[in-house]
Amino acid sequence: MENMINLFVQQENGERLKLEAPTDMGLSVMEVLKAHELEVQAMCGGMAICATCHVEVLESGELPEQSEDEAYMLESLPHAVAGSRLSCQLRVSPELDGLVVRIMPEA
């Protein structure tokens, strides 16, 4: 469909769950994950201040750069990894098509 992309969530057993997401609704990846009732708390609602939507990006094209707020939050997380992002800061756009993430457990 037009204006739709596919996102994938890698489950613990290695399987990848496919999620369709519209690119024209100003959604964040966090909001897509929540809409599919996946285990993201996203308590702060998308302000990059609680890190309860922390994901590890496993595969992607070029991603938008981290904002200062996101970088600061990720840097202060004890269990962040090289591919860590806050899913609330990733806007669903055509460039994100095929993105594979793993939802990070809370510290």
Partner: protein, 336 residues
């Protein structure tokens, strides 16, 4: 204050908790407000005091910190009392129908109604995933610095790269016998002047700085004796320490509220939208902490919820009086 009697105990001093004091005050109900944080304002004060909010009716733009100040001013005439820096632990219904709320430090609040305005929950320190961490909590591992003097002449390791890790490193550099700051990253994104000070302290040999490294193990007997530091490149090494202080910011948790017998749904308290009452009579939940069909986590929705909860609680506080809606334009504000 250890024993308080009031009409309504408001749990949570965020914007909705504060405004609930106003709505209760208009109906001549006294409030006592409890919050786990040492300052009022909840996440507005703790997390984004300098961020502008654009959806408060009548304020095209207001800084979160200013909104809190205005709310404090607005409730002044009703002289609410506060217990700050204490998390609520227990809620008990007493035989005479009153409710007793107890904090972690033993403060007891006896009241006729409870408004839970707990927002995202209480902010608790984010704990790193290190095995056996719990074993040494309060026996060498602290997640916040309450009494800096405790560390005088001691060997301490601080972990973290945020502002609180930097600030406490600077402060404790002169207090501790030996201080090592371990940070996962290669630089600090916190306040530049703090980062510069930490670099200067390290250059002067007053502290040790371990960048690109993590604390991965903790060891001891009854109390903590050593931590293992693992750099990104190279071998790990042990540091003998008296205290390990991981400072990785705060994360919101529902906390003991989930043990009170309230009906919960995905970490939020289920309420009846008639008056935002919970399944426990006399206990209401307002603001971000509640859930109902169509719930929006907005400050303005919490304000509305507090007005309706207050008129419902009026029947519990003044069972013999009839409720009548009073307009502030007609009656003004009558001090309590």
């Amino acid at each position: 204050m250890k024993n308080i009697t009031t009409d309504i105990c408001v749990v949570g001093a965020g914007p909705v908790g504060l405004f609930a004091v106003f709505e209760a005050g208009l109906l001549k109900m006294r409030c006592h407000v409890v919050d786990a944080l040492p300052a009022v304002g909840g996440q507005l004060t703790e997390i984004y005091p300098k961020k502008p909010i654009y959806d408060i009716p009548g304020f095209p733009e207001v800084l979160a910190g200013d909104l809190v100040k205005n709310l404090q001013k607005q409730i002044e005439p009703f002289h609410p009392t506060f217990t700050l820096g204490e998390r609520v632990e227990h809620l008990n219904k007493l035989e005479d129908g009153t409710i007793q709320v107890t904090t972690v430090d033993g403060t007891e609040i006896n009241c006729k109604a409870v408004f839970i305005a707990g927002g995202l929950g209480s902010f608790e320190p984010r704990k790193p995933a290190i095995p056996n961490l719990e074993k040494y909590e309060s026996h060498g591992i602290d997640y916040m610095v309450k009494d800096p003097e405790k560390y005088r002449g001691k060997r301490i390791v601080i972990a973290g790269g945020g502002d609180s890790a930097l600030d406490w490193t600077i402060f404790l550099a002169d207090v501790a016998e030996e201080l090592t700051l371990v940070h996962r990253g290669s630089s600090f994104r916190g306040a530049p002047e703090s980062a510069d000070k930490v670099a200067a302290l390290a250059a002067a040999g007053k502290i040790k700085l371990q960048l690109n490294a993590n604390v991965v193990e903790v060891h001891g007997e009854n109390s903590l004796k050593a931590v293992i530091v693992q750099p990104d490149k190279g071998d790990s090494h042990a540091l003998e320490v008296d205290y390990f202080i991981p400072l990785f910011g705060l994360v919101p948790k529902l906390g003991p509220i989930d043990q009170w017998g309230l009906e919960l749904e995905k970490g939020a308290i289920v309420v009846n939208t008639f008056d935002y009452s919970t399944n426990i009579p006399g206990v209401y939940a307002i603001g971000d902490i509640n859930t109902y069909p169509g719930k929006l986590k907005l400050i303005l929705c919490g304000f509305h919820e507090s007005a309706l909860a207050a008129q419902s609680a009026y029947k519990l506080v003044f069972p013999d009086k009839k409720f009548s809606l009073k307009y502030t334009t007609v009656n003004g504000i009558q001090e309590l």
